[in-house]
Symmetry: C2
Subunit: 632 residues, 2 copies
């Protein structure tokens, strides 16, 4: 999993420290010393020497002041007597004078002692400016250097009236402690924190499919099964952890009816749909926005639009107008029956429902905030405006052309609708031959032969199975989901070189590959996600399929336990084992991936009591706090 990991870095972890004013360092790099100009740099820092003297004078007590002044008067008299010729303090006099008062002034000084500048030669390779406290035999090293050299983080924070404090954070990534034993029917990992559709690498949510379109490895956008599954699992999890949404039914042809504005050239009627056994709205308008039938709103902040509709002609459409309450700028979201993903013209943002959507009833669920934001990004790639959800309000919903609609709602969330959109996508986009959800893009892992479009990922399979297992369970046993999940097991048994995701380490341990490279790359987090899919299906499917999934899970857990320590560097983890496969440098996991490893192990420890899992999780957690393994 290279990209589909939510970056919850600095901000969430900072909140842990309950800071009210975070002052993260913005220095680009440690200050290199060009040889020769150390003195010039000292000069430019001169104005920092102000404070000690201020405090010194401020704290002179009365007696001390009197002593100074008495001395001054004597000296002045002498000076005047000598007609100020060649008058000066003796340095010795001054030093003793100063020493005397130091002891009185220092006790509550806010500022520190003056330190000396000292050049730090780093491994004889380059220099940084350090400070030295000769009395305390201490050298102080600038954090801007340390941050890069050791890959640690830190920021000065002040909490309310407290004094400033520097928070040294070995890692800013977050550990998520499991709330209980992992449940295949419950929240997936900690995915309730994920907001897949917000990510930059999500181009938009396809209006035809209701699932995200990725631009991660190909700019034009493509369906990335792993991302679609994460979208589903995050919404499934949010549905369990968030409050129930507020839902406003606007129009259902029956109990809920709105007063639609109907221009003269247009008409709308509520008719009885015999098959659905409910009333629906039929509409017919002239061409041109001014002939649309519409309803307007005041202050409607519920941005999840849901509607059933059937469009009859190419030029028919659903149009929603959303306004930025701050700027008063309006955006028109057009949902049109065309093979188009997303297109933008000024304030008009077009989402294609697919040409095949014509003359079919379609239920669509749109997050209007996401739809507007993705349109803005496409319209202004250089510096797109960031729109906050709370900035937007719905002004109107309108229909154009010829068609029918029913059940229009605006609500605060529609998690399960998103979840099922994705589950349906997996049902309809599985390769019937391999059982895989293929990735339609090239994928190049440094040092490995490029994967051609059509490759299958064990992580994608596992994630999809996690989605489908939940859909099967949540839907009360819809066999289509079960069937797709079971078919999704096939690539776990086929070696990578034969189009599957299976590899073997040292001819011994079976491994399910996130990236089915040759030689194997053995990405750890993707492997564990592939195991969770197996666990989920094992927990929810009927016996035969459960057994099948269970066997693959057991085989994988066996390998995991035998191979887990291969990823342990004593101060962090490797992302994969390419160093063993290719004989190159280890591909170290950056802190957020390392945290993923920890989180995954913590979760596995709730379903597997082998102390190796829990102990390793604890040690790896410690690495995030700078606790290295011992050296001999």
């Amino acid at each position: 999993m290279v990209g589909d990991l939510v970056r919850q870095k600095l901000v969430p972890s900072m909140s842990k420290y309950q800071t009210t004013n975070s002052d993260a360092f913005a220095l680009p790099a440690y200050p290199l010393i060009p040889s020769g100009d150390i003195r010039d740099q000292r000069k430019s820092q001169s104005n920092k020497q102000r404070e000690p003297f201020v405090f010194f004078i401020m704290r002179l007590n009365l007696k001390a002041v009197m002593l100074v002044l008495t001395v001054a008067v004597v000296v002045i008299t002498l000076g005047v007597y000598m007609r100020c010729a060649a008058f000066s303090f003796s340095p010795d006099f001054v030093r003793q004078f100063n020493r005397h008062h130091e002891s009185q002034t220092s006790s509550a000084a806010q500022t520190s002692d003056a330190l000396q500048d000292i050049e730090c030669s780093i491994n004889q390779e380059y220099s940084v400016h350090c400070k030295r406290d000769e009395n305390a035999n201490e050298v102080y090293v600038p954090f801007s250097f340390l941050r890069n050299y050791f890959d640690v983080s830190g920021a000065v924070t002040t909490s309310g009236t407290e004094v400033a404090k520097f928070n040294w954070m070995h890692s800013t990534a977050k550990v998520n402690l499991p709330k209980g034993k992992y449940d295949a029917r419950g929240v997936f990992m900690y995915f309730e924190n994920y907001n897949v559709e917000v990510r930059d690498r999500v181009k938009c949510i396809s209006a035809a499919e209701g699932v995200p379109v990725s631009t991660q490895w190909e700019k034009r956008g493509y369906f990335y099964p792993t991302q679609i599954a994460q979208f589903a699992l995050s919404h499934y999890s949010k549905n369990l952890t968030e409050q129930a949404p507020r839902v406003h039914v606007l129009e259902d042809g029956d109990g809920y009816q709105m007063d639609w504005t109907t221009p003269k050239t247009s008409n709308m009627t509520r008719i009885w749909h015999h098959k659905f056994n409910t009333s629906v709205v039929q509409f017919e308008t002239a061409i041109g926005y001014e002939s649309a039938i519409s309803i307007g709103f005041n202050q409607t902040l519920d941005l999840l639009l849901s509607v059933d509709m059937l469009l009859v002609t190419n030029s028919s459409s659903l149009m929603v107008t959303v306004q930025n309450r701050d700027t008063k700028h309006s955006y028109n979201l057009h949902y049109i029956p065309a093979d188009l993903l997303l297109s933008v013209q000024d304030s008009n943002i077009y989402y294609g429902l697919g040409a095949s959507a014509l003359n079919k009833w379609r239920h669509i669920t749109r997050d209007l905030h996401i739809d507007v934001q993705k349109g803005i990004v496409l319209g202004d790639k250089r510096s797109p405006l960031k729109v906050r959800r709370s900035d937007l309000e719905v002004l109107s919903v309108a229909f154009l052309g010829i068609g029918f609609y029913d059940n229009i709602t605006l609500s605060t969330s529609e998690h399960m609708a998103h979840f099922y959109d994705a589950a349906e996508w997996f049902v309809h986009n599985q390769d019937p031959k391999s059982g895989g959800w293929t990735n339609p893009v090239r994928r190049s892992l440094n040092g490995f032969a490029e994967l051609s479009p059509g490759w299958i990922s064990a992580m994608g399979q596992g994630h999809a199975i996690s989605v489908l297992a939940r859909a099967y369970w949540h839907s009360g046993g819809d066999e289509r989901y079960l069937k797709a999940a079971a078919a999704g097991l096939q690539p776990y048994r086929v070696f990578s070189q034969d189009g599957g995701v299976l590899s073997q380490f040292m001819d011994k341990f079976y491994w399910y590959e996130e990236y089915p490279t040759t030689p194997p790359s053995l990405v750890l987090n993707g492997f564990i996600y592939s195991l969770l899919g197996l666990y989920d299906l094992n927990s929810t499917a009927p016996a035969k399929i459960a057994r099948e999934a269970g066997q693959l899970f057991a085989q994988g857990m066996y390998s995991l336990k035998k191979m887990l320590l291969l990823y342990d560097t004593g101060s962090g983890t490797s992302y994969d084992l390419r160093h063993l496969s290719l004989g190159v440098a280890p591909n170290l996991a950056r802190w957020d991936y390392h945290a993923t490893h920890v989180n995954q192990l913590l979760l596995l420890a709730t379903i597997d009591s082998d102390p190796l899992i829990a102990q390793t999780a604890e040690r790896w957690k410690g690495y995030m706090f700078g606790k290295r393994a011992k050296h001999n």
Copy 2:
């Protein structure tokens, strides 16, 4: 190899920096702040605040002084006028006053700008005192904390008249670049730098065997084959790299004769030895030192004594008196025919030649400096005096009792004599059944079952073979050495659990174990040393034995290349693979072992052109300079 690695840490690598004054940090640990008393600690540091004010006052120019004094006079007048009631400076007044002068005084200041104290919270776990430069948005972290937290080194150095500089050393261990292709007949690694007998864990050099006695794992002392081989290889290497020794022949009964002091009750005669076809000295004395026959010296600084002798009675002995030129203290070294390793009584130091030495001609070579030093250590274990070689001079050599002697020399070194003493030890102390040089002590590796006395080490075998291969070659083909070396190959083919040193990783790769643990511990440096022994024998032995060694070497090199990256942590190396065998934290190699890994790979790269070896060596070298592998 746990202990037998020379510690050339701080001092040699400091010399690299051409420093004349090294000021290594002596702070025990970073200053922890107990919660609540931050203010108290500030108070205690008050005396460091002296300097800025001194300089401030010192740099007041005449005008400034006059301004201060004028103000003072006005203020005094006012004060007197107000009868000193409620007199005080306004803070604002003082601040402006101060600012005015700051700009004049700072430009050439030797001391840096005053920084503020700031508490650094380390991972929310504990705090250290840092400094903050608010203007530059920089925080300075004390090195005393960093040293422990990151295991780095550093010291303030001043070179002559230069300004002080802080040398940050990621690692202080030393890389030894090979001088050319490794030669089995030449210097072993960089062992010319080793001084095995000087090490604290060497109790003494046995007078019976002429080889070191280790106390590393058992206090009473034992013969440790690995150490004995390192003793041999270091002297072999020194013989090739050092100047030829200065040798003084004192007495050989023929061309060189000394004027021996012979008390009345004693006598000595030079007699012809028919078998040796040379003259030898025969002596007979009464009991008591005063009746010894002896020769005295003036300023004899050559401390390597060599002698052929035959003692007839238990009470016969060789006695050498050595004086500390500084303290004028004398030490009597007694070499006696008894089963005794080392015994000390006041200034009398006794070395046992073995009871079996009676009535046999023996050639002994003694480093009198080492013999005195080890005696001093045994005599005063708490705070033994360190005696420098250059402090000692030989006062006299004497014989007591009944016996013969010949070929007495004093010289600056006797490397090859030491080397051959060790080679003989290996010939005479090989287990005839296993071909192993057994370790007569328990050895406990954390987490593994204890090794019982009698275990064999692949490192010991390899080192011994390196010694014997060189002895075979250097002696011009002494078959005894070849035979012992060839027999020493046997344990390479026997699994650890069967008494050998062979193990297999992942049922795939053969490995020669420094410590034949079950499960395997797979110590890297010991394995490579075991390979060097094979290489040496392959390079020097006749065809059949060479082929045998060559096959074992090739098998090991194959494993090494397949497993080398298992030791790579991306910022250092593991010492062994116990984390894989036991499922525990990696046993990281401390910097000097890491340097050994680098040095070994650099050497192997001269005899194996596989780029994996050279590339890995380069990367591992980079780790010693803080160059970590990239993270994803």
